[in-house]
Each structure stands twice: as C-alpha cells, then as structure tokens.
Subunit: 272 residues, 2 copies
Amino acid sequence: MKNNFIHDRVLSILSASIFSIFLISCHSARMPASWPNSDKDFMYQYSIIDALMAGVFDGNLRVGDLKPRGDFGVGTFNKVDGELIMLKGKVYKMSADGSVKEVSDSDSTSAAFVKFFKADTTIYFNEPNLSYEKLQEYLVEKLNANTIYAIKITGSFSSMTTRAASPAKPPYSTLTAHLGEHQKLFNYNNTTGTCVGFLLPPYLARTNVPGFHLHYLADDLKAGGHIFKFNTNSVAVEIDFAKGFTIENNTNAEFLNVNLKPDRGAELKKIE
Amino acid sequence: MKNNFIHDRVLSILSASIFSIFLISCHSARMPASWPNSDKDFMYQYSIIDALMAGVFDGNLRVGDLKPRGDFGVGTFNKVDGELIMLKGKVYKMSADGSVKEVSDSDSTSAAFVKFFKADTTIYFNEPNLSYEKLQEYLVEKLNANTIYAIKITGSFSSMTTRAASPAKPPYSTLTAHLGEHQKLFNYNNTTGTCVGFLLPPYLARTNVPGFHLHYLADDLKAGGHIFKFNTNSVAVEIDFAKGFTIENNTNAEFLNVNLKPDRGAELKKIE
C-alpha cells in the first residue's frame, strides 16, 4: 500500500476534480498507436456478448492463444462451463462446483475480454462497509463515461457474492435461460483477493457489457466467480485506460447462424 | 474481367446456395489471428460513428498515420470537410465543391474505417439498369448477416448520386443538423470507377454503420462522394471477409465530453 492512502472520504471527493483534470491531460497527450498493432494498450475480445447471449456457447480460441492477447481479463469457457479469470497471465476457472483451478492451454473459450494490464492510476478507498454498488458510484463520478477502462480491485472483503455457470448441453438455449436454471450462487465471508474486469462505455452495447463487469479470484483460490456484490473496508482500485479495442469474431459455425439483430441490452442487465 | 463472368441472372441465383456453402467453409477453416496483431485481415477504424453523429468533428489521426492501418476504406476529414475515399493505399477527398483530390499525409481525420483489401471472392452482375438498392438485396441474400465485409464494386454507372459535406464551423452541431444544411448532392451520368466501403452486421451499431456504406471514386477523379444510389448494367463486386475489427478511440478532448448514451440508430438511417 502506498503512503498516499486516502483515509478520509471528504479528501477523496475533493480529489475527484483534480483527478478528472489528470485524466483529460493523460488522454490528450496520447498519440495514435502504431499499426500493425504491437500496441498493448488495446482491449482484446474474442466473440461478442450478444452471440453468447443468443446461445453461441462454443468457440475456437484456445486458452494458449488467448494469452498472447492479454494478461488480465474475464470470460467464460466452451459450454459456458464456469467463469474465466485471467490474472498476471494465468487463466483460472471458477466452476459451478465451487472449485477454482488454473486451466490448461488446451481449454477453449467462447467469449473472453482481456488486456495487458498496466495501471495508469490507483485510487485507494478506506470506508467502513463500503459496498460494490457504492464503489461503482464513486468510480463513475471520477472516471470518464466514454473511455474503456480495465479495473483491478485488490483487498479484503467482509462479504462477497458471486455466481458460476454450470456447463450447458447442446442444443443450447439462450444465456439467460441457461443461467436461470444452471447458475450457482456463492456467498463468501472474509476473503482476500482481486476483482478483475472492465468498466465500459455505452457504445460497447451488443459487443460487450457496458458498465462494470468484474470477476473475483481469491488469493488462496478458495473463492471466485462473476461478482454480484461485495462489502469491504479498504481496497485499492487500479485503473488502466485503453486506447481502444479489438474484436475477433468467433469462428464457430453457430456464430454465422445466430440472429444478432435483436437489441439484448435489457436482457443483459438482468443477468449481470 | 474474368472468363467466368455471369451473363445470366438465373445462373447467378442458382450459384447463391453454392456460394453460401463456400462462405461457411471459408470461415470454419480460419484459425485465430496471431497477436500482437500483424494480421491484416481486421477492419480498423478511428473513432466511432456515434461520436461523429454527436458532433465530434475533429480528430487527431493524420492521413499518414491512417495508411499503415489499411489501404482501402471510407471516412471523413476534420470539420467533416468532404468525403474520404482510400483506394490502393491512396487517400482522396471529395469536397462539397465537387473536386476530387488526393490529400496530403498531414491532413487529419475525425472518423475513418479502413482495411487492407484482399478479395476472398468476386461476384459479377450483368443486368440491365441494375440499381444499387437491388444489388444490395442480391448481396444480402448471398452473404452472411453476422460477418464483416469490405466491399469493392468496379464498373460503369449510367447514373450515380452522391453527397459531400462542406466543412463545419465550431461550435459544431450534430452531424444530422450539419448535413441538413451543408451537404451538396451530385448527379453523374456515365461514370466509370470504384465504390469503396463495407457491409457490416447489426452489432456494429453505435460504432459504425450497419448495412452498406460505400463511397465512390471515378477513375478520372471527376466524380466521387458518399453514395446514395446508382444504376449500372455490369459490375464486379469483390468481397473481403474480415476476421474482426479494431477501434481506436478519437483522442480529441471533445470525444470525452460528448453524450454517447443515446441510441442514434434511427437518426443514422436518415442520413445514410
């Protein structure tokens, strides 16, 4: 933990306006990326959320081929078998049986959102019983609504509620229908670990999840999953601005057949 | 023109089903791209259509920096000063005064959509007085609704109607408001040249233009612009499937300030 740990919410709110100026100056100073893209400051994603929502539960990207695209991120596996968490270049699966394991490079993903994580700034929150919801409000107030952010939250959580999906059997239904019957909820107390994910702007509707989307990984690998809520007294929030994003389409034949015309935004909010 | 020029629409329609099978097999055979991305089979775009719609008319990407990202595509320039056409690596501006000129690398764009064009397949149409609208119907019937395509149409056009925007003065209004007062229409007869652009799936709503978006460039540089309609007796349609796309956010400060929450899909349809 750094020396400038902010113990006082008043101080924290006062710093918000200064922080905003800092953000704007950071953006203005950035030059366009070189291309062909060896620039690691782009989010990369395999497939799109709407395809997953529509039931494209299998993909052709191996975990070993996901790793050169980022070292940090979230996703799922083929058959929506559990929650994918990538942290420090390693890929973990939180399964519906509650286990968390590092996965083999030969496993495949049907949807994954990753980035090479390098914090541009860190904000420390120290507030008794701070909820995930309240933390989101603080961050939204401080951050820019049109920017792509990778978000890493580390600390101890007095409570943490997550879900993990159990694998689907073909023929696949929609993601909402599958989760309705096959998602397991987990309630943890006093767990220490990392929340991994993104805060995305509205123009990533249909392709990704606008707003916050974080998965949890406990340091001891005894907890994890797609985060619904938590409470904490103290966390460090590392924020990494991305210059943009790359989407690689799922090459599974089902991707070509599925109906991607409907706006699934309202449906997505129900399951996030 | 190739030997397999299809003179008969019946033959052309019969070939559609075979063509569809060919398309699916092409997709299935493709392996994920290597990354960091030196893969040229991705569309690249600078900024997003919703930002342009909302009035972010300036950007920081120089034409010279756009060229390493593709050799083919469409867009506009700062101040929405004319229509951008990139063909065979050269960038042209169709201005509201009707002139078409190759532009300097030091010009800048506020929005551009480009790709390294390499046709995966070519379809020849030979039908008296074939309209742009009817050609779109034929192509939509043959192509996959969820795939990103760069489209190059070459031939002679008995009629061609385009528009070019004249430059806006700050403070900028929305694109719809600007075009309402400052777009010039052009009607050409018997012009020979190339239609350059994309056919995009619905999940690129908000970021790009779902459906067809083509700009025209006459071989003699005496005609050009954003295409509204045309008629032809004979064209070659080259189709290049993209594996995905990269979006680089506009680094102009206005991009951070503009409201990107509204769904501008209906508004976009009115001006396309």
